[in-house]
Symmetry: C2
């Protein structure tokens, strides 16, 4: 709980950060322990001094991915709100921005892994559920006044689904899908053009 982390803590953080990007880029099973360690500038042997198992790393990686993405999301939203956008519009425009099509590895961990999440057991599955509920709560906190809080689940599903389908389609079709979804969400929940 101080400013200067030990050598080991720095390594730990680096490994988790590499894994947080790797799972979003390649999926839960898309990258191995050895490659993660190499990308963190280490050799694979040292891994188990940091984590009990590969699954334990996945849990920490999901947390880190969520924390980092939430910070970036909030920052980008703040910029839009400073320009007069409502919090809800800022969320939709940021979460479904065209750049999200290719920024999978620093993007939303739920969108990156949603269809793999139901298959995860134990600690990984539990952490996946937390990531979904956290995202839903974040969306709920950004709903415009007057909108029923129960709409948070629907808005979250729409945004997560749209990002996945757009990434699958790619290119022009993907960008069109994102644009239509942005417009539809804002038009439905924030029809008074923003303020």
């Amino acid at each position: 709980m101080t400013t200067h982390a030990t050598r080991k803590e720095q390594s730990h953080e680096r490994i988790v950060d590499v894994a947080a990007r790797a799972i979003r880029r390649a999926g839960y099973r898309g990258i191995g322990v050895a490659d993660i360690m190499k990308e963190a500038g280490l050799t694979h042997g040292g891994f188990y001094a940091h984590f009990d198992s590969r699954d334990a790393l996945l849990v920490e990686a999901m947390q880190a991915a969520s924390r980092d993405n939430r910070a970036a999301l909030s920052q980008a939203m703040a910029r839009r709100m400073a320009k007069g956008r409502s919090r809800f519009s800022a969320l939709v425009l940021t979460y479904l921005h065209d750049t999200q099509l290719v920024q999978t590895e620093t993007g939303c961990v739920v969108a990156a892994l949603a269809s793999e999440m139901p298959r995860q057991d134990d600690a990984v599955g539990q952490e996946a559920r937390r990531r979904v509920t956290d995202l839903v709560e974040f969306v709920r906190s950004a709903l415009p006044h007057g909108v029923e809080p129960e709409q948070a689940e629907v808005v979250t599903a729409t945004m997560v689904g749209a990002l996945q389908l757009a990434r699958t389609l790619g290119g022009i079709a993907g960008r069109a899908l994102l644009a239509q979804t942005r417009q539809a969400l804002i038009q439905k929940y924030q029809p008074t053009s923003d303020f």
Copy 2:
């Protein structure tokens, strides 16, 4: 193109059918060639007399999964329409029915694999894009009169996302998310209560 398939064609169909369920249950990488063959009542050696590669099977499996699910979907929708539901309401109520929470292996292949789809190359990636566009077109064909056709993408994203999040959450939370999404979609696009 006749009624009685050869011995080999029957095996081929059985393998594809097993794979179509396996990828929806476990993901693209969740089951191996040997296990698929065993589940089809064969041994793994014969696999390459049927397919050029594992990827070639995945392509056929996605097609079969889509075809079978579309048939089941249409049938269940027809039952609801016979009871007075509109085509759109029937689609939403069927696609987001509570039973879909656990029927992953016979359910929608897009919902089962959406977050893995953007990572697939070549033939598998191409088939994944086809499965997405096909689903969007099916949804478009079910939109109520008067709704802009461009809404098909948004509705599809909402349904696919909702099914994934609900499956991740599971249990009561999952069913609540499905119910809210069903209600929101029908209320928005088919507010005149159905007919």
